[in-house]
Amino acid sequence: MRGFSPWLAATAPHIQIWIGALCTIGLYSLLYRENKLYRFFEHVYLGLATGFLVANTWTDIIRPKWYQPMVDKGMWWYMFELMIGFYYYFIFSRRHNWMARLIIGFFLGVASGQAFQQFANDQWPQISATFKPLLPHAAAGTVKAVTPGDAINNIIFVVMVVCVLSYFFFSFEHRNPAIKVSSRLGRWMMMFAFGAIFGSTVMARLALLIDRMYYLVFSWGGELGAETHLGANGKYLACGVIVALVLLMIVLSRRYPDDFSAPPGDSGAGGGGTS
């Protein structure tokens, strides 16, 4: 880009920040309601992400690993990889689909073989870690000490595992009182776990909002400061823009109440909120 246009090369970082800010504001316009600006930036983002993936697959994988060795280094036999890859498309031919099954069978075999290793390294250590000492004891040789606190933790852990497992006994009806109680407890415990996941989701989504707001205030604010000669105070200008947009959203919300919050029977002038 430097050779093509020195001005563009020098200005590109500033243009990037402006585009980033406009995309952020455009995407967050969804908070007011579904709108064309949001739709436009959503499609821009999806298109960019897909284009980036395709371009990088070529530059980082296919070109250095296949194209360059074949064309630049004369490893002509690499062309057979492409032909073997095309075997997949014989799935559309009734007469020749056995050729597609050859290559599918090959990769199915590879994946099945790997599944053994995956299971052994992933699940087995967790199964063995489920067997925990339930009584406190002192350290002996390679065996670690178990304090009364550890023992209580371990008992809670084992009870939870047993209860949750009993919930998934589908082979017989849960008529036995012991199974009935333990499976109900298991269901409650899973609900706690789902609650923890949901709580974490709130924190995760907030982190994304915080990052975008930080970008607007400091990165875009820096640009605004440089262009308006406000210098470091540009962040206050960016903050002012955010507050103005928030106020605009409130004014528009009062004028066009949301469908979900309007009293029953009154859908408002525009409605059309998204969940």
Binding site: F52, N121, A196, S200, M203, L208, L209, A262, G273
Partner: protein
């Protein structure tokens, strides 16, 4: 009272969004830093890196994209800062998303300037790769042979940072910073078979299911989203002060983000309480009306 309850029940969600945005932005300008107490999983990851000898090679999985930048970037920066402070070499690999290679590169360049870290000598960006299972299996036996070059086209085997790194057994540790299940594949094909010291930094959504791996000892340490990134940053900051290399305050983004997160969480808790109180009061008044009419 009935009016207030009615309004609470029918409050337009966009007022809540407005309040939330203000709660997130206001702490950027406040000199208010609530104390951060590092939890055990964060301390364990910190201690894992602390225990590595100088100039050891650490494999860093950068498996995230712009979509989870708010959580994964503070984690990445805190971990990279620690690696540089400890004078460790590292190599970055991205499997889950091609953006990972760019995000990792940007962070390494930015923090590397503070520590005088140079690309190719102290760190290397191997780039974006696909077919994680087979690629890792091949890497286990021959690292430079599997990846050949870094993202700039330099031969891996000729880079000083790769000196002595031939197979997965030559890695001193493995840390995957991820927004996907890529850490499981790392455990299955690298961490598990080679008994490598493994740590992961995940998004908060993934944290509850990642604890299994911590409990079973398959990973040595765990960062769970933004709050853990702030904890890790605090640990690194304390270490930097000991080493006489204090962290510039403007770079402590995890702590800044965490302040906003605290305010936003307070607002959400307040709204949950108010919303539930409104619902209970409304239900009680309806019951009274029904009793009166009966």
């Amino acid at each position: 009272m009935a009016n207030i309850v009615n309004n609470l029940q029918r409050l337009d969600r966009r007022y809540l969004y407005a309040l939330l945005i203000l709660c997130v932005v206001a702490p950027f300008f406040l000199e208010f830093n609530p104390p951060v107490y590092p939890t055990k999983p964060s301390r364990d990851l910190f201690n894992m890196i602390q225990s590595l000898p100088e100039h050891s090679f650490v494999l860093l999985g950068i498996d995230w994209s712009a979509g989870t930048r708010g959580e994964n970037l503070p984690e990445t920066e805190a971990i990279m800062r620690h690696l540089m402070l400890r004078h460790l070499r590292f190599g970055m690999l991205a499997y889950s998303d091609p953006q990972g290679k760019t995000q990792g590169e940007n962070a390494a360049i930015r923090i590397g300037k503070e520590f005088g870290y140079r690309e190719g000598i102290d760190w290397v960006n191997i780039g974006f790769k696909v077919d994680m299972n087979n690629s890792l299996k091949a890497m286990d036996l021959n690292v430079p042979g599997t990846f050949s070059t870094d993202i700039h086209g330099n031969k891996l085997s000729s880079l000083p940072v790769m000196a002595g790194v031939h197979t997965a057994a030559d890695f001193s540790a493995l840390i995957d910073i991820t927004a996907t299940s890529s850490y499981q594949t790392y455990i299955q094909f690298v961490g598990g078979p080679y008994r490598l010291k493994t740590g992961i930094a995940v998004t908060a959504v993934m944290a509850p299911e990642s604890f299994n791996y911590l409990d079973s000892g398959q990973i040595k340490g765990l960062l769970q989203g933004l709050s853990a990134a702030a904890e890790y940053e605090t640990l690194v900051e304390n270490e930097e002060q000991k080493e006489g290399h204090p962290l510039p305050p403007e770079t402590a983004i995890a702590t800044k983000f965490n302040n906003s997160s605290s305010f936003a969480h307070l607002l959400i808790i307040l709204m949950i309480i108010l919303g539930n109180a409104g619902m209970l009061i409304e239900r009680a008044s309806k019951r009274r009306e029904q009793e009166a009419s009966a």
